[in-house]
Amino acid sequence: MTARSFFRSPLKVILFFILILLALLWLVPVITSVVTSVRTNDDILSRGFWALPKQLVFSNFKTAWQRGGLSKFLPNSFIITIPSLVLTLFLSSLSAYALARFKFRANRLIYFLFVGGMMLPFQVLLLPVFRLTDFLGLYDTYWGLIAFHTAFQMGFCTFVLRNYMITVPIQIFEAAKIDGCNAFRIWWQIMMPLTVPALAAIATLEFTWIFNDYLLAIVLVRSEEHMPVTAGLASLQGQFIMDWTVIVSGALLAAVPTIIVFIFLQRYFIEGLTLGSSK
């Protein structure tokens, strides 16, 4: 529909303006944060939120990055997120393949374990996982978090990938089998290339989920050396208790990676969310 034919109906014009208003309202917290981050704390405290700032500063970002420790926390987040993401996608594509392609007695039960686990509030696992991580000597290391994320996210990934793989027509595999391909080559050379769209979608989604985890990060990691940015940000709150400009700037900096993913991979992100609910 062209814009002109759309605006012919007065009702639709009203709808359009309501939407503009709502969309802007939705962005207000983000806009407020950006405006706050380029002002000095003294300026806001002494002259109030509505005063026109005398000068724009970037020192808040610098403070959050250096003294606030984001220069350490942000890389940590990547060090934890990337291996978790790769491992969970790899392992899930194996288990999903088994569940989608083979008939065996425990198939349904195992599928249910994955789906049920995916719905679990992970707080339920917190204390045993804390104990397990400690027992394995992984407490306060990157690997403790990587292991948990890899395992827990397998529920969702297996669920989505299995439902995606099951739609691939079986004839393709029969042909490959006659050609003498073994099971692993069929998985790697035939199934995996066909699964790329689903993998891209859930990879985008899982990136933000793992990157944004907070609870496990504060339970399985103690030292600032290994802390991801979510936990680091929360500690910023204690460090700069009255200095909201620094806290808000830190929050914005911490959000940059997921915002970049969202801007460039929005289509995959949305696809991932839809795949997860289509069954």
């Binding site: 686990g117 696992l125 944004n212 609870l215 940000l233 808000v248 911490a254």
Partner: protein, 291 residues
């Protein structure tokens, strides 16, 4: 469909992922039950005390406040974002000028971590210089301004509002996907028969969205039970536990008060509540499997 000799093949694929999953997810789920029957401080060996944690739990006022707050969370989540998300999906389902911008601004909060959301909203709610009170003062509504996060009657709603702000886009995505599968022939036919826009929505579109609505509501309830981050960042459950939810109550008992067995008992309750909804969801999955 497979030869008998290749019975082993699925297990070659399934073996490692399943073992990892059993150790880190399914095993711990059961281990929580055991821990809830012990007196464990996190350091020394857990001591078995049978149901004593549960007896204490049912006399603990903070437990009931938390339970009530989770209920408030659930009730808000299955109404406001569901209705709002559906309305937005209906409005944005046709191609509107600027629809990309509209969608993006409702999606945006979804990619921000809850910690980031909690921090920027704490600033919005700030009693002196926060945006909300500043706007109210500007409008001359000084009597309405308050400490949104320090008022015991308001604080929980103030936190839930942030969660709702973030959830609307998510529900909208799910409904937009659902609307793609609505039979447009039926919609057109009912229009020809003289049904007005509301009647078409109520009697033709909404029934076809029923399966997605079940999923949306289940996910919303599970998400409400998972609530932790916002409370932890914005209020730590205060003032006077008035914004405590089960997950925060558990965390504080286990990791601040070192009563891990007691914390485990809280998470067992959390588990039992969520089990109802996981069950509903699994039954749905089972139905689609058999269809």
């Amino acid at each position: 469909m497979e030869r008998a000799s290749s019975r082993l093949t699925p297990w070659l694929f399934l073996g490692i992922p399943l073992i990892i999953y059993l150790i880190w997810v399914i095993g711990p789920m059961f281990y929580t039950f055991y821990l809830s029957l012990t007196n464990w401080d996190g350091l020394s060996a857990p001591e078995f005390i049978r149901l004593r944690n549960y007896f204490r739990l049912f006399q603990d006022p903070v437990f009931f406040i938390s339970l009530q707050n989770n209920l408030k969370w659930i009730l808000s989540f299955i109404t406001v974002p569901v209705i709002g998300g559906l309305a937005l999906a209906m409005a944005l389902n046709r191609s509107l000028p600027g629809d990309k911008f509209f969608k993006a601004s409702f999606y945006a909060p979804m990619v921000l971590s809850l910690v980031v959301c909690g921090l920027i909203w704490s600033w919005m709610y700030h009693p002196e210089n926060g945006l909300i009170n500043s706007v109210l003062r500007l409008l001359g509504l000084n009597s309405i301004t308050r400490g949104w996060l320090s008022d015991q009657n308001l604080v929980m709603w103030a936190v839930i509002a942030v969660a709702v702000w973030r959830q609307v886009g998510y529900v909208m995505v799910l409904y937009l996907a659902g609307l793609k599968n609505v039979d447009s022939w039926l919609v057109d036919a009912s229009r020809v028969d003289g049904a007005n826009a509301w009647q078409v929505f109520r009697h033709v579109i909404l029934p076809q969205l029923a399966p997605i609505t079940v999923i949306v509501i289940t996910i919303s309830i599970i998400d409400s039970l998972r609530a932790f981050d916002l409370v932890s960042v914005m209020t730590r459950g205060g003032p006077y536990n008035s914004s405590s939810v089960l997950a925060n109550f558990m965390y504080i008992e286990a990791f601040n008060n070192y009563k891990m067995g007691y914390g485990a008992a809280v998470s067992v309750i959390l588990f039992l509540i969520s089990l109802i909804f996981i069950g509903i969801y699994l039954r749905r999955v089972l139905k689609t499997e058999e269809a």
